[in-house]
C-alpha cells in the first residue's frame, strides 16, 4: 500500500475531491513530521507512538578494513505500537 491508496480511500469515504483528500494526507504527514522534528513525540491511541531518542556518540568499525571511526551523536525516530494493536495482531496470529 502506498500514499495514493490512502488518498483514494479518504476521497471515497469522506466524499472529498481528489485534491482535498490528497491535502489531508500530505498535511497529516507534515504535522507528524514537524512535531518529531521539534523533538515532541506523537501518540495515536489504538495505533502507537513515535518518539525521538538521542543516541550518544560511539566507536564504529568498518567490518571490512577494521578501521575505527566515531559514529556521531544523533537523534532517531522510534515507533512503539500500542498494546491495543499488539493484542489485535496477537489474536489474529493465533486464530486458525
Amino acid at each position: 500500500m502506498v500514499k495514493a491508496d490512502i488518498v483514494r480511500s479518504i476521497e471515497l469515504q469522506m466524499g472529498l475531491s481528489h485534491e482535498e483528500a490528497s491535502q489531508q494526507v500530505e498535511q497529516i504527514l507534515e504535522i507528524i513530521k514537524n512535531s518529531l522534528e521539534n523533538g515532541d513525540s506523537v501518540l495515536i491511541s489504538g495505533f502507537g507512538q513515535w518518539k525521538v531518542r538521542s543516541k550518544k556518540a560511539r566507536v564504529g568499525r568498518n567490518p571490512k578494513t577494521k578501521d575505527e571511526y566515531e559514529i556521531s551523536p544523533r537523534k532517531v525516530v522510534t515507533f512503539y505500537p500500542s498494546n491495543v494493536w499488539r493484542n489485535e495482531l496477537q489474536k489474529q496470529a493465533n486464530k486458525g
Binding site: 480511500s9 504535522i31 515532541d40 501518540l43 495482531l89 493465533n94
Partner: protein, 91 residues
C-alpha cells in the same frame, strides 16, 4: 502531540471541519492497520514504511521461577523512518 491535537491542527491548516479532519485521520491509521493485517506492507515516501514481522511460538522460561512457559506466536508491526524524516529529526 496526541490524536485530537493532530485532528485540530489538520482542520486548521486544510481549512476543513473537525469532523472531516477526524474522519481523514481515522481512515489514515485504519488503512495502515488493515494493510498490515492482510499481509501487505505500507510505504510512504519521505515518511517511512510499516511492515509486519512474524514470530513463531517457542518454549520460554519465567526468569523468576524457571518454570517453562509456551510463548504463543505473534505478529508485531515495525516502522522504519524514511530518509526525509530521518534527516529532519537529526538536524
Amino acid at each position: 502531540m496526541n490524536k485530537s491535537q493532530l485532528i485540530d491542527k489538520l482542520a486548521v491548516v486544510t481549512n476543513q471541519t473537525n469532523k472531516v479532519a477526524e474522519g481523514s485521520v481515522n481512515i489514515f491509521f485504519g488503512n495502515i492497520k488493515q494493510a498490515l493485517s492482510s499481509g501487505d506492507k505500507v510505504e510512504i515516501r519521505g515518511f517511512g514504511s510499516f511492515f509486519l514481522k512474524k514470530y513463531e511460538s517457542y518454549m520460554g522460561r519465567n526468569p523468576k521461577t524457571g518454570a517453562k512457559v509456551l510463548v504463543p506466536k505473534k505478529n508485531l508491526p515495525f516502522f522504519r523512518a524514511g530518509k526525509d524524516l530521518r534527516e529532519k529529526v537529526n538536524e
